[in-house]
């Protein structure tokens, strides 16, 4: 960096907040690489122009990795306007109601016409402005203020203002309503905390400081599309009214949906004239439809059963790092799992790379028995990865008084590759003398009422469950692992852990988050209340003529920059 660059950087730094300057320091010191700087800067609301200027001024000071766009998904060549993209997706399981939607098929419908304050761009692993142009935390991170994008119109012609945003979030966070977003907002945000500052500014007064709050109002929280003030959510499916690049043409339950380009879109009219979605209730017909040329893209698929796509060069496969994972919990309050050595032995028996190869056909990342995975910038990668060690596992079992092993029930659900994973786990455990008695249940029986005493998921001695993708690990760290968490299937109670998580959630800057993540990861490895064998990649397939689609790992797909060559 020469003197000129220094002067430029000083100019850029003048007048910026303490936190923003802190990140610039971190970048200069090499503790943040360029990609992490972009990601973290976006969380605290630094504009991309500012971050770009800072990076330019820093020049080659730190180019360990660049914010590269991901392979096939990035638009290449000159976009060609026109055409209708045909996509296959899972049929929405319920009414298209922004308040109650929980399934992959339904949430992608919301994302076609609806938009969020913030967009979590999973291709770049970075937050981007959507309906909010900027956002800033108060010192400590208990109040977050969002500036709204001017000139945005709903599909009904009405201008979007703070009133609409306040209405949306008051509904979503209202504990008296059937809001699915409550699983994120409970003890984070209550309706009273949503405040209109002026017609284009909204402030969120949180119940506790939260360093990653922008993720909770981003596309990760799929219920949080901004709807006009006073919208009846249960009737939303007749209009699909939003601010997005596409408007509803038709929607037929169980059959499909079609959308038209919105010429008045604030981000410019999309290249496509429109899109049509065909709904399927299982994966094989979707793959056949892509191969047979009846659709141009599959919104999301799982690796199992998709060998023909993954092994073919005729399709663009977009792989996204996701935080979706499988979690094996062991009842810390039930023998023999009261002894941490027994729990460690279980974790050491697992052959993780083989699981990824066999069950996910390579489309996954190693898990290290904590919810921290490659999707999160805060993950502390200096904590060593746990690897299979049968000898050590046997030693631990002997030391714990089980030289000949033991047998224990392992209950799980019929979902994606999980029954096969349970079989592999059983085989791995057998190698160290542990007999896992598998019980594979339908999802409804397995989850039951999802409260303690009424749920095989939460009550079984060993329980193997799925967790879907989220933009921040907060829910994974709290609900299944804190002493009073509602999904603590392991009955893990550790006050040191509880305090670390509280600090982590509140921490606004990345180095503190990473430092705390390191402590949490180390503590979880020592205690091993859960085994996280792997994280599943999000998979999207298109034909080679499709460009510029932007999928997310929660199985939504954004088509505003998509085109067909």
């Amino acid at each position: 960096m020469d003197r000129n660059d220094h002067r430029k950087l000083d100019q850029l730094r003048a007048g910026r907040s303490e936190l923003e300057n802190h990140y610039v320091d971190e970048l200069l010191a090499g503790r943040l690489d360029r990609r992490q700087f972009l990601r973290k800067g976006a969380v605290i609301g630094m504009s991309s122009t500012l971050m770009g200027a800072v990076l330019a001024a820093c020049g080659g000071a730190n180019n360990s990795s660049s914010a590269s766009s991901t392979s096939s998904a990035a638009a290449s060549g000159t976009p060609k306007p026109g055409g209708t993209l045909r996509l296959a997706q899972q049929a929405p399981a319920t009414a298209i109601n922004p308040l109650t939607i929980d399934d992959a098929g339904g949430l992608n419908m919301l994302a076609q016409t609806g938009e969020f304050l913030v967009f979590d761009n999973n291709l770049l692993l970075k937050l981007q402005p959507m309906l909010a142009t900027s956002w800033t935390p108060s010192a400590g991170g208990a109040v977050w203020t969002f500036k709204l994008r001017p000139g945005v119109k709903f599909h009904n012609g009405q201008a979007m203002t703070a009133k609409d945003v306040v209405y949306t979030f008051k509904q979503l966070s209202d504990p008296k309503l059937a809001s699915n977003a409550l699983s994120t907002f409970t003890s984070v945000l209550s309706p009273d905390g949503v405040v209109m500052v002026d017609p284009m500014t909204v402030a969120f007064h949180l119940e506790a400081p939260n360093g990653n709050f922008p993720y909770l109002v981003s596309s990760d929280n799929y219920n949080a599309i901004i709807v006009p003030d006073g919208t009846d959510f249960s009737k939303w499916q007749s209009t699909f009214v939003g601010t997005g690049p596409f408007t509803l043409k038709s929607y037929t339950q169980n059959v499909g949906a079609s959308f038209l380009a919105n010429p008045a879109y604030w981000g410019g009219k999309p290249y496509l004239d429109g899109s049509t979605y065909t709904f399927y209730t299982s994966q094989p017909p979707q793959i056949l439809a892509l191969q047979g040329g009846q659709v141009d893209a599959i919104v999301q698929f799982t690796a199992q059963g998709a060998q023909s796509l993954l092994n073919s060069s005729s399709y663009n496969i977009i792989k996204l790092k996701s935080a979706g994972h499988r979690e094996l919990s062991m009842r810390n309050d039930q023998a023999p799992f009261t002894d941490p050595r027994v729990r460690q032995a279980v974790a050491l028996a697992m052959g993780r790379p083989q699981m990824i190869t066999a069950l996910l056909l390579g489309a996954g990342q190693l898990g290290n028995d904590s919810p921290f995975g490659p999707r999160f910038p805060s993950t502390n990668t200096s904590v060593p990865q746990r690897v299979q060690d049968l000898t050590k596992a046997k030693q631990l079992l002997t030391a714990a008084g089980h030289p000949n092993g033991f047998s224990a029930p392992l209950v799980t659900e019929q979902y994606q590759e999980i029954p096969a994973l349970a079989q592999v786990m059983k085989a791995d455990l057998a190698q160290v003398g542990i007999t896992a008695n598998l019980k594979i249940e339908s999802q409804a029986s397995y989850y039951g009422k999802a409260t303690y005493g009424n749920s095989d998921w939460l009550d079984s001695t060993m329980s193997l469950v799925d967790y879907g993708d989220r933009g921040v690990p907060n829910v994974y760290l709290e609900a299944p692992l804190t002493s009073n968490g509602p999904w603590n299937a392991a009955r893990f109670k550790n006050t040191t852990y509880d305090n670390l998580v509280k600090q982590y959630v509140a921490a606004v800057d990345l180095s503190t988050q990473q430092q705390l993540a390191g402590k949490i990861e180390t503590l979880l490895l020592a205690e091993t209340p859960i085994v996280v064998p792997y994280f599943l990649d999000g998979l999207t397939a298109t034909t080679q003529e499709v460009h510029g689609v932007n999928p997310t790992s929660i199985s939504a797909i954004y088509l505003n920059k998509a085109y067909i060559s």
């Binding site: 059937a178 699915n180 299982s282 094989p284 009846q294 029986s445 009422k449 609900a479 999904w487």
Partner: protein
């Protein structure tokens, strides 16, 4: 005959009522509750309570059942829990689809099965009989999933001559609709051909060995006349029974074929409703299948009595 039909209809109504009670009770035994099925396993308990209250599923069972049945007898099938829209149009549309596919299959498989069976029986024990029977029985045991995928791979993808999705574009004409139903119909024809062919064959052989057939042949009637006038009519009797019992399967039991060929039939509608504990949809779907099944059995009984005067006289007495 009129009394016979009235009696049967009365019995059918009672059966349907009992069916509705059984479905209601069975739905209560299914794990999970409707609100949680909609909101997902990880939804906040307060949200689940709010939605259960909204749907009325937090009320006592008797109240829920009374509410549903009083609406149903007034012709109101209610509102789907999952989709928040009226059940009737969804069920009627799905039933229409199922009936259309079933009709295509019947039109192909019934004449084919009867002809095959009679032709095999006329050469009983000879190679022709063996070949027809072995092929028929073998195709019966090939699961729809297997034959369906092979058909899709061959005709839909490799040769690319037939559409792999049975759902036709909106507003398609009848020929186009039938064109879309060719592939999904074949696995079903394969499964049913064996049954019908075997029943027709057995009936024909029995009739061929009967005294009246021997008499007819001995009195010098041409072989063709004997078969048409004496054999065919008698050999059809058991075949009709078999066909009638397959109606239930063809209307409501095609979940695999409907899923594979993406066809919105009533079978998958019911399975989805059961998974989602969408009780109004489940009841409506099952009762509709029940009605179809009973109508089919009634028609079969009437046909049977027309072909077999012995039964007709008994009923009239």
């Amino acid at each position: 005959m009129a009394i016979f039909i009235l009696k049967r209809v009365g019995l059918a109504l009672i059966t349907l009522w009992i069916l509705s009670v059984i479905v209601f009770l069975a739905a209560q035994v299914l794990p999970g509750d409707p609100a949680r099925a909609i909101l997902g396993p990880l939804a906040a308990p307060s949200a689940v309570h709010a939605l259960d209250h909204q749907l009325g599923t937090d009320q006592p069972l008797l109240t829920q059942y009374w509410h549903w049945i009083s609406n149903f007898v007034h012709g109101n099938m209610g509102k789907s829990y999952s989709y928040q829209t009226a059940v009737a149009p969804l069920v009627i549309k799905a039933l229409g689809h199922s009936l259309e596919l079933a009709a295509v299959v019947f039109v192909v498989v019934v004449p084919l099965g009867i002809l095959g069976g009679v032709w095999a029986a006329l050469a009983a024990g000879k190679p022709r009989d063996r070949i027809i029977s072995v092929v028929g029985l073998s195709s019966t045991v090939v699961p729809e999933l297997v034959s369906g995928i092979i058909l899709i791979l061959v005709f839909g993808i490799a040769l690319n001559v037939l559409p792999i999705s049975a759902t036709w574009p909106p507003g398609a004409s009848l020929p186009t609709q039938l064109y879309h139903l060719i592939l999904p119909a074949i696995p079903l024809v394969l499964i049913l051909f064996g049954y019908i062919e075997q029943m027709a064959r057995a009936g024909t052989i029995e009739a061929l060995n009967s005294d009246y057939a021997r008499t007819a042949i001995l009195k010098g009637l041409p072989r063709r006349t004997v078969i048409r006038r004496h054999i065919l009519r008698n050999s059809l009797l058991p075949t009709i029974t078999v066909v009638a019992t397959q109606v239930g399967y063809l209307i409501g039991g095609l979940v695999v074929v409907e899923t594979l060929f993406r066809y919105q039939g009533i079978g998958s509608l019911i399975v989805n409703a059961a998974n989602a504990k969408d009780f109004p949809m489940l009841e409506a779907g099952i009762l509709v299948i029940g009605i179809v099944f009973m109508v089919a059995t009634l028609v079969a009984d009437i046909l049977y009595s027309l072909l077999n005067p012995r039964i007709r006289y008994q009923a009239a007495e």
